[in-house]
């Protein structure tokens, strides 16, 4: 199952492993010992190493990347530093314990981590119930489709690039919507321009998801 997204162990990983302690032995269904891809920027490979190998070094690398960014996002969304850091700990604990739910065909790591952080933030700050759509019966074929795994990561890269390329003022509008500074009516009034730009880039993602959903 986890084959092509893994590359042989690279020695660049040494420093990472210091934090993680011994990596658990690979589970039986793979040949040989899994030494995870520790290219520290391949979040998907790191996340799969956490999911399938319970790899602490990979988890530490993900923590180092996401924790400071999540803290920044949470503080801009209204949490103080202490609360934000507690929330980051909860979010990353969920990433570890619910790793089995990570599906690289469906979402990039950043998307998955984002939704966990958003949900935790609502639970902490709003104390309301959080209505969620019924889960889709997802098409869980035995072999993950590597093209879809690639496409999900690629969509996420395209979105990041589209966001980065927006004029600063427009990018800031999008960010403010995510920090909760804009009501839905304000989003409708103010974000037309940047959303138009971004939507012209995410058509691919829509088509892929739509195709994926209707297969099931």
């Amino acid at each position: 199952m986890m084959t092509s997204s893994f590359v042989p162990f690279a020695d660049a990983a040494g420093s990472v492993r210091l934090y993680g302690g011994p990596t658990q032995a690979a589970s039986g269904h793979d040949k040989g010992t899994i030494r995870v891809a520790l290219d520290e920027t391949d979040w998907s490979a790191l996340m799969l190493a956490v999911r399938d190998g319970r790899d602490r070094a990979a988890f530490a690398a993900l923590f180092r990347h996401f924790a400071p960014r999540l803290k920044s996002y949470l503080m801009k969304s209204g949490a103080n530093a202490t609360k934000a850091e507690d929330c980051v700990q909860d979010v990353m604990a969920t990433v570890w314990h619910k790793a089995a739910q990570f599906d690289p065909e469906r979402a990039a790591v950043s998307t998955w981590v984002y939704t966990i952080a958003r949900n935790r933030m609502i639970d902490m700050m709003r104390r309301e119930r959080r209505p969620e759509p019924e889960a889709m019966p997802w098409n869980e074929e035995a072999e993950p489709d590597q093209a879809d795994v690639y496409a999900a990561a690629e969509d996420s890269r395209i979105l990041s690039a589209a966001l980065a390329e927006l004029p600063e003022k427009q990018r800031h509008l999008i960010q403010r919507a995510f920090y909760g500074d804009l009501s839905h009516s304000e989003i409708a009034l103010e974000t037309g321009l940047p959303l138009g730009t971004i939507k012209s880039r995410i058509r691919l993602a829509l088509d892929r998801l739509r195709a994926k959903i209707t297969e099931s």
Binding site: R69, P133, E134, D155, S156, A177, I187
Partner: protein, 217 residues
């Protein structure tokens, strides 16, 4: 594959984005979650907005994290988490998010008459907006009303028409203050809707206005 109704009236970007950002009121969130449950297209659009949230995270500055944060995190990994056993999903005719608020299926709804044969049941949510189930007998009209804020009306069963169009199962009407409308349930089948408002409705006739405080509509 489930056969889904052919939905013609969808969520707009502002509602999807606000929901994806986690900042929509609970009442509106319930309508969004219910429409997304019924509509594959809006589900895909929602997931794209969530991916945009991921891109926002990636673009964040790196806030300073306390030095012991990683050690604290790693120490926590071995602490087993007790998670509630997943509830066995009962098959309901109501979409799952609505069933969760009703606490059962249609027969568990506690209806109250609001006049003209129309019945409603207000669902318990946070107070920023309200959401209710409406039962409109076939051929009946909901009293003429305008809105101060936004009103979302999602058809769960049957269909209604107003001056703008026909709305069938899964269709969502987004009405703002410019729209004074008089939805009429189609003949043949009672219409059940999930309707949310972020401001009280303004009924045009005198009597319904007097009744408004009583029924919270």
């Amino acid at each position: 594959m489930k056969t889904r109704p052919s939905i013609r009236h969808h969520l707009n970007d502002a509602l999807l984005m606000s929901y994806a950002a986690g900042h929509l009121s609970e009442a509106f969130g319930l309508v969004v979650a219910t429409h997304v449950t019924l509509c594959d297209e809006c589900r895909a659009r929602l997931e794209s907005f969530e991916a945009l949230g991921g891109a926002v995270i990636e673009a964040e500055d790196e806030a300073a994290i306390s030095t012991e944060a990683l050690a604290r995190m790693m120490a926590r990994l071995d602490v087993p988490v007790v998670s509630a056993p997943p509830k066995a999903a009962r098959k309901t005719t109501l979409p799952a998010p609505v069933a969760a608020y009703v606490g059962g299926d249609l027969d568990a709804v506690k209806w109250r008459a609001v006049g003209g044969g129309v019945r409603q049941a207000i669902l318990p949510t946070g107070r920023k907006a309200t959401v209710r189930l409406l039962h409109i007998p076939a051929g009946q009209a909901v009293p003429d009303h305008g809105h101060r804020g936004t009103e979302l009306t999602l058809v769960l069963r049957g269909a209604f028409r107003d001056a703008t169009d026909r709305f069938g199962p899964g269709d969502l009407e987004i009405a703002n203050e410019d729209l004074a409308h008089k939805p009429v349930a189609e003949a043949g089948e009672d219409c059940i809707c999930l309707a949310a408002t972020d401001a009280p409705l303004r009924f045009v006739g005198l009597m319904p206005r007097l009744l408004q405080p009583l029924f919270r509509i």
